[in-house]
Symmetry: D2
Subunit: 327 residues, 4 copies
């Protein structure tokens, strides 16, 4: 129990179920004296929202953030920053069917097994809506990092062609399946020295940070899994005058500590499990049944995951920056 | 600072430099009343040692473990178990050359940047020898898990052909480069319910556990990165009567919680950076130089990493087992 | 930084400044399936409020709690419970004078030194209003403990006679000074075995829990400081058949572990530093000045501290109960 | 479980039973580049040893410390420092009697209840010998603090007269009872700003640090319990030009944060429970029996506790110093 806090010195604790009253976070350990407005967070939250593209769910909440504490006269106090978003789109009638079945690829079954109870409305705590709290934590971290000229940015990559029909067209109205993709995140400007061997290495914590996002099934640093196809001499990053590295296969991390290069993380995003196709499953009584999750779902969530990855990485980098302050 | 402890309830803190007096660990939170002998640990340590194969370094320490506390009349007391191995092979004359240069692919440069001082003898704390402490923690965890019929086992996979000459032969005496590979780890018998959403998900912590091992550059769960080539309907594991899953693409984890299936983790091991080939680097004064690391080094450490991955996974699973005890 | 979380498995993170938008808490690690309503918390919050007695400040907020997450259909989900109280009485005009001075006995000076910024409105985060979050955490802990028949109760003790005039009367309208007192807390029904030696002993954590309350300057367990006047034979609690102790000088804790007896904690509450008497101090520019804090202040906060002590003790006992679940 | 680590950034994990092979500690998070020798620790350990005075047990181990890791060429590496002391005086024949009874005032009963097993030889982990690890941690902390001109020192206070016969003489050979006393600890040179509200206040952590020592039953800061006899105007420390406080009733801490004054902690030490007087108790089968603990025991351990209190306070202050480094 009690796994809803991330970080050691910059600590973000999130709360909220998809269809409860609100979702949000408390940020503890944010440095004091940093200028911060609700808009700084709102910009990040807007990037997380389902957008107008054909790929996203039509849940249309404004996700307006409210800061409840920790900011005074426009600056952080050094005290906990609580910020939240009220859930609006919480009509529950449509969720009755979910009460009694376990959706394939979702956490319905495991939450039931673990807690003996679950909020079945759209997955409750296991919903992607939980990431609102992460993005709040990440937006603030990014603002703080900017003061030290450290910039975290990510971008998504996916291939829609699998969803096209024989003519190569995609009929977004009638897609009944989903696809995944890759998000690559880059940190520019991080100084050498971040990371706490041997267990809290920077890459270890980045892996945890990213793998804790609902849909992520793989994480790699630098060349990552390609390292298995390289020899030591191909993979080692040689050095030159000016403490310069001649390549960046390591993704900016050596021995768990940043080396001053760009930090590179890549994650695998699974296709969202909510699909219209008929699937076999069981109900809560253990009987076999089938389920089709109609309605317009996300076809590909990669674009929405981008800001969540950025957020987790920003939180991690800031946490390690604070851990690396010198005696 | 202070990153040398792993775990929340089963906590392993390791210590030791490659050429210091000793390496070892304190295990805090081991359940009481478990039968435990030095031999239980020794068996694991022996698997970690350089073996007689042509692929390993000839460092030939016996790595004899001594338990200093926490065990009484053959059983664990519930108090901290300290166990250690004295370093024997610590002749340092040969390490003089390392004092003034940063080896490519090693942590020499980053340790210097972070701490302003480093034990240059074979990498000091950043050496693979640090894993002795991990294996101590893992051996004890595995013994405890066995009481609940949970078994962790891993195996390595690598391709030596890249090192062969035109005739397809490998001349082990004269290899001057190294290769990496894959370690796959499987947990059998873990009950559904392990994992602590939303940040301390089981897969998140497993990713951290594995990525914290020196040579690891990527981690994936279940089908991992292949998920990017699958649709939702292909990837979702359907369920059938008996709470059975019809496939295991998820690698035994849904929403960060184990689902009762085998848990599957795969990691990418980089080629050991210590190679005989000449490489460009800089010395501690910033001047360009070249380095050749002669002597018989590990050609491939994958076989030795296997027990380290098993150890980290066993520690993680036990920790989450303890976190999941019911009120 | 980042000191706003209490507990290891039952974790309470609080937020909020006295005159910010809201105060509250996230509870992470509450067992699932426990019946919980807003009223369970409200009852505790009402005990914390300034009451109608002559001893309290007339701040008259209703302190109505709202649960934002973690409870579904009347039961806890095992997910984070966020609950908060909106601040109502936040007219700030009267606080202008506090902007530029450091009140004696308050944290104005130390917050300025630590953070370089402070919310000067009634002490901001250092105000007693911060205890709303603690009481939320404590009310829920008490509800959970009741399921195991563990009851935490406290009572206050103070001597008003120091404030009386020569006739022995107290003129509450014109008191310009304040007094402190003692709160004694008792835990009934706690099983033997709670406590985690050697640093996280039960008495150690109880001491921290209580000393973290704003006005507390001393903590003792069992006979406490009186132990210095006793011999070993007087102080040792002898045992008799039925695993019964013949006395309880130890206050229910031996070697940092509960022994099944009532657990007894006593704390010293300082007189509230906000007084109408003129006092010397300095302003933010370092110049000497004087301050009189008129208006009707708390004369004695002991009665209001009682529920806060109960809350901290309940949180601690529940946390250790969870840590003591058996493998 | 898992309560053997103290601190957040300067983390000390101790191990060892009284009559096991060794006792010691791993220090994680010690700043790098600090000069450190075994002698720095030995000096502290010598102060902890039973001395030649008539008040102490004749256990005569040299307690010679060995540093196993974390120090290279006379300086700390920033990696974990493991240091230990081998137990020498571990003849166990005399401890047979303790196997089957619970000594009054000791943790024999509670360890049995908690762990279902105990090392009965002189209390095992619950013995005062466990403090060797604390003193190792404290000695190193004190060395580091000295670099910032912060000095921690304590002294003991006790009254032997209770043990004298009608002539006012004390017959040390035949004392069969014990007494306790007070240890007062002062920290000089600590800057304003140490402490992490609201739960990890400096005084809260100091209370925990001290109360975690075996024999301590009460902790107070500044005037402590005397605060209950003072009015607000008597207790408040007024301020004057130069950011000077005109008194130090607060013991150097306001709102949980150091104010630059001397920090003052006072603890109550109970009379050691090991006495020669006959006492009622039960055996492990629940039957009533009596016990006399002959042999020359400590009559008063206050003098030996002094360095342990100093150690815990030094560890706490250093930990908070590191937490207070500025972004």
């Amino acid at each position: 129990m009690a796994g809803n806090t991330f970080g050691k010195l910059y600590r973000v604790t999130t709360f909220g179920e998809s269809h409860g009253k609100a979702v949000g976070a408390i940020i503890d350990g944010c440095p004091s004296g940093i200028e911060l407005t609700e808009n700084d967070i709102q910009i990040y939250l807007n990037r997380r929202r389902p957008n107008s593209s054909e790929l996203s769910t039509p849940r249309t909440e404004k996700d307006k953030v409210e800061i409840l504490s920790g900011v005074f006269e426009g600056k952080t106090l050094g005290t906990p920053i609580c910020a939240m978003v009220r859930n609006e789109d919480i009509g529950t009638s449509e969720y009755g069917v979910l009460k009694n079945i376990y959706r394939p690829g979702h956490a319905d079954y495991t939450y039931e097994k673990k807690y003996g109870i679950r909020d079945y409305r759209s997955g409750g705590r296991s919903s992607g809506r939980e990431t609102v709290g992460r993005v709040i934590g990440g937006a603030v971290a990014a603002k703080v990092l900017k003061e030290r000229n450290i910039i975290v940015s990510a971008r998504g990559n996916y291939d829609l062609s699998r969803l096209s029909n024989e003519n190569g067209d995609i009929d977004f109205e009638n897609i009944n399946d989903s696809i995944g993709g890759i998000v690559e995140c880059k940190v520019k400007g991080a100084p050498a020295g971040l990371g706490e061997p041997v267990f809290d290495k920077l890459d270890a914590e980045l892996a945890k940070a990213c793998m804790s996002i609902g849909a992520i099934k793989g994480v790699e640093i630098g060349v990552g899994f390609d390292v298995t196809n390289m020899t030591g001499s191909e993979n080692n990053d040689e050095m030159a005058v000016g403490e310069k590295f001649l390549s960046n296969n390591a993704g900016g991390i050596l021995g768990g500590i940043s080396n001053g290069n760009d930090i590179i993380i890549r994650v695998a995003v699974k296709p969202t499990p909510t699909i219209a196709k008929k699937q076999k499953t069981i109900d809560v009584n253990g009987n076999e049944t089938e389920v089709e999750l109609k309605g317009r779902n996300d076809v590909c969530i990669v674009d929405r995951v981008v800001v969540v990855v950025e957020s987790m990485v920003a939180m991690t980098i800031l946490d390690y920056y604070l851990q690396n302050l010198k005696f």
